[in-house]
C-alpha cells in the first residue's frame, strides 16, 4: 500500500485565502474492495472555482467540508484495479482531489474516464480537452451562439478557458478579442492563440479606460462576451454591447475574497436587450462528448496551443493556487505529482 500525501481544507478564509487555510497530511492508501480502482495522480488541476467552495456560504457547489481533501480534477494512471474495465497502466481522468492517490468506485458513472495519451499530452485532459475546454465550448456554443462575423470578447484570455474559447470562436468565423494581464500574456493571446486583439487590463484598470479600449478593439461593438472575472470588466462590456448581445457568466473571481462587486448599470441589460446567463459545465454533461471531440481536433490540428504553468509536488499546490487567484499563472495551472 503506497503512502498518500493529501492536502485538506483546515479552516475557512477570512477575506483573502492564505496558505494557512490548508494542511498537508500523509497516510496509507486503503486496501481496495471489489469494483474499486487505485489511481496514481500525475497532475492535479487548480481552478478558480475552488476558491468559491472554500467559503461556508451559498455557492453553486456544495461547500468544501473542513478537514476533508480539497476537491479537484486529476489525471493519472491506474496503479491497482479490482474492476474489469480498468487495467494497471490505463490513463484516466477524474476528480481525485488534492492528493497523490485516490480510490475510485469504477462502477459510479462519470467518476473516471479512460483517456488516450498517445495523441494528446495527458495534462491537456485537465485543460483544453477537459473541464475548462468544455466550459468555453458551452458558453460559446450554447449561451452566446455567435454568427460568423460577430465580435466576441473573453476575459482571462490566456488561461485554460479563455484560450479554448478563442480557438472555438475563430473556428466559427468570429472576431475574437481577449482581455489579459500584462504584455506577455497579451502577446501570447494574439501571436500564439490567434486572437484578433488583446487588451491589457493592467493598462486599463478602470471602467472608463477599459471601455475606451474595448471601443477601439471592437469597432463593430460586442455581440458576445464570456465573463471569467466580473467587476469593472463586465461593466465596461455592457457599455460596448450591441443590441441582443449575450453574456456567458462563468466566473466572478474578483468578488470571491470580500464584499460582492456590484454591476454598476444593469439597466443596460434592458437598453441593449441583452441576455446574461450563468452556468456550470458539470450540469450539462450531455454536451461533453461533442465538445471534447471538437477540442481534441483543434489541439491535434495545432489550432489550439494551450500553455501550462506547472508547480512541482503536492506541497506546492496551495501557493500555486493562491497565485492563480492573483493571475500569476500563465496558462493552465497544474501541479505535477509524479
Amino acid at each position: 500500500m503506497p503512502r498518500n500525501q493529501q492536502i485538506l481544507l483546515d479552516n475557512r478564509p477570512q477575506g483573502e485565502a492564505t496558505v494557512g487555510n490548508f494542511r498537508l497530511v500523509a497516510g496509507d492508501t486503503p486496501a481496495l474492495q471489489d469494483g474499486q480502482v487505485l489511481v496514481r495522480h500525475h497532475y492535479l488541476s487548480l481552478d478558480p472555482y475552488m476558491r468559491g467552495r472554500m467559503n461556508d456560504s451559498k455557492s453553486y457547489a456544495a461547500c468544501q467540508s473542513l478537514g476533508q481533501v480539497m476537491l479537484g480534477g486529476t489525471v493519472g494512471e491506474v496503479a491497482e484495479s479490482r474492476h474489469g474495465a480498468y487495467a494497471v497502466g490505463d490513463k484516466v481522468a477524474g476528480m481525485g482531489g488534492w492528493q497523490e492517490y485516490s480510490v475510485v468506485d469504477g462502477n459510479a458513472p462519470g467518476l473516471l474516464r479512460k483517456v488516450d495519451a498517445t495523441q494528446i499530452p495527458l495534462s491537456y485532459y485537465l485543460g483544453a480537452v477537459g473541464m475548462p475546454g468544455v466550459t468555453a465550448w458551452y458558453g460559446l456554443v450554447k449561451v452566446i451562439a455567435p454568427k460568423p462575423g460577430e465580435t466576441v470578447v473573453v476575459s482571462a484570455a490566456s488561461g485554460a478557458v479563455g484560450s479554448a474559447f478563442g480557438a472555438l470562436a475563430k473556428a466559427r468565423g468570429c472576431r475574437v478579442v481577449g482581455i489579459a494581464g500584462g504584455p506577455d500574456k497579451c502577446r501570447y493571446v494574439t501571436e500564439e492563440l490567434g486572437f484578433d486583439a488583446c487588451i491589457d487590463h493592467r493598462q486599463h484598470g478602470d471602467l472608463q479606460s477599459m471601455s475606451a479600449a474595448l471601443k477601439a478593439a471592437c469597432p463593430d461593438g460586442i455581440d458576445g462576451h464570456f465573463e471569467n472575472v466580473g467587476g469593472y470588466i463586465l461593466d465596461a462590456v455592457l457599455l460596448r454591447a450591441n443590441a441582443f448581445a449575450r453574456v456567458a457568466l462563468c466566473g466572478m473571481i474578483a468578488g470571491y475574497d470580500g464584499q460582492p462587486l456590484p454591476l454598476q448599470n444593469p439597466a443596460l441589460i434592458l437598453i441593449n436587450r441583452m441576455k446574461i446567463e450563468g452556468f456550470i459545465v458539470s450540469e450539462h454533461m450531455q454536451v461533453w462528448p461533442a465538445a471534447l471531440a471538437e477540442l481534441g481536433a483543434l489541439v491535434a490540428g495545432g489550432r489550439l496551443r494551450p500553455r501550462e504553468s506547472i508547480a512541482q509536488g503536492l506541497a506546492a499546490a496551495p501557493e500555486a493556487f493562491l497565485g492563480l487567484l492573483k493571475g500569476r499563472n500563465f496558462g493552465k495551472q497544474l501541479v505535477k505529482l509524479v
Copy 2:
C-alpha cells in the same frame, strides 16, 4: 378640418421629469392625401417607457425628438378616410401620440389595426389586450417559460403589465406573487386579480426587509421573475432565486431619473445559474396574434379584470404621466380625449 391639440417634448429633463418639459400647442389637422386615414383618439396610453425616451442618451428606442409630438399608443375611431380598408366609424388602435387626432398612412404595415369594441372595451386595447398585455405574455411565456407549480414574482403587480402577467401565470398553474405599493393595491392584487400573495414595497423598503418578505411569500423560492422596476427589488429577488431561475427584464423605472442603480451582487446570477434577459415587445411582433388571442379570452372570461386610472383631457397628460412614474396611478394609466 378639425382643430388638433398636441403635446410636444419641449426640453429634456434634468434629473426628474417635470410638467415644464412638455408644451401644449394647437393647429389644424392637415387635409388627407390618398391612402391616408384621420383618426380621432378616444384614449391615449401613458407608459413608463416614455420616460426613457425623453432622455438624450442611449435607450432601447430612438430618443424622442425635441419639438415633436410625444409618442404613445392610442385607440379611437376613423373620422375621415381616403383608404379602402378603413371606413368612418371604424375602431382602431395605433401609435397616434399625445394629440387628439392623427393622420396615418393606411398602407404602412403595423401602424393601425382595427379592433372589435363590442366584446371588449376600447380602452383595453391599450392595456390588457394591447402592448402591456403582450409584454407580460412575452416575458412569461418566452423568457420565464414556467412549469406548473413554479413560483413567479412580478413587480408593479397592480399595473397593466403586472395584472396581465398574474392572469397568464395563474392560467399556467404557477404560484404568483406580486409586489405593489400600498395596502389598496395589494388587496386588489390578491382579491380581484387572484394572485396568491402580494408584498407591499412601502412596508419593505430595503433589501433585507424585501428579502424576508419574499422568503415568506415564496416558501419554495423563486423560479421566475418579471422586473418592471429595478433597484433593490431585483437585488432581493436574486437572494431568493432558485437554481435556474429566469428573470424577464422589462422596466428599470427606478433608475430613469438620475444615476444608474447598481445590481448589488451579480455573482448570484452565476451561483444560481440564472438567466436574465431584457426585451422590448415591439421587436417581437410575431408573438402578438397568439398573445392577444389568449389575453382577449382571459378578459372575456372574467379571469383578467384590469383596472384603469383615467385622466380627463389632453392637457392633463403630463401630470398624469409624472404621477405614473411615482406610482400614483392604480391600474392602467389612460387619458380620455373624447
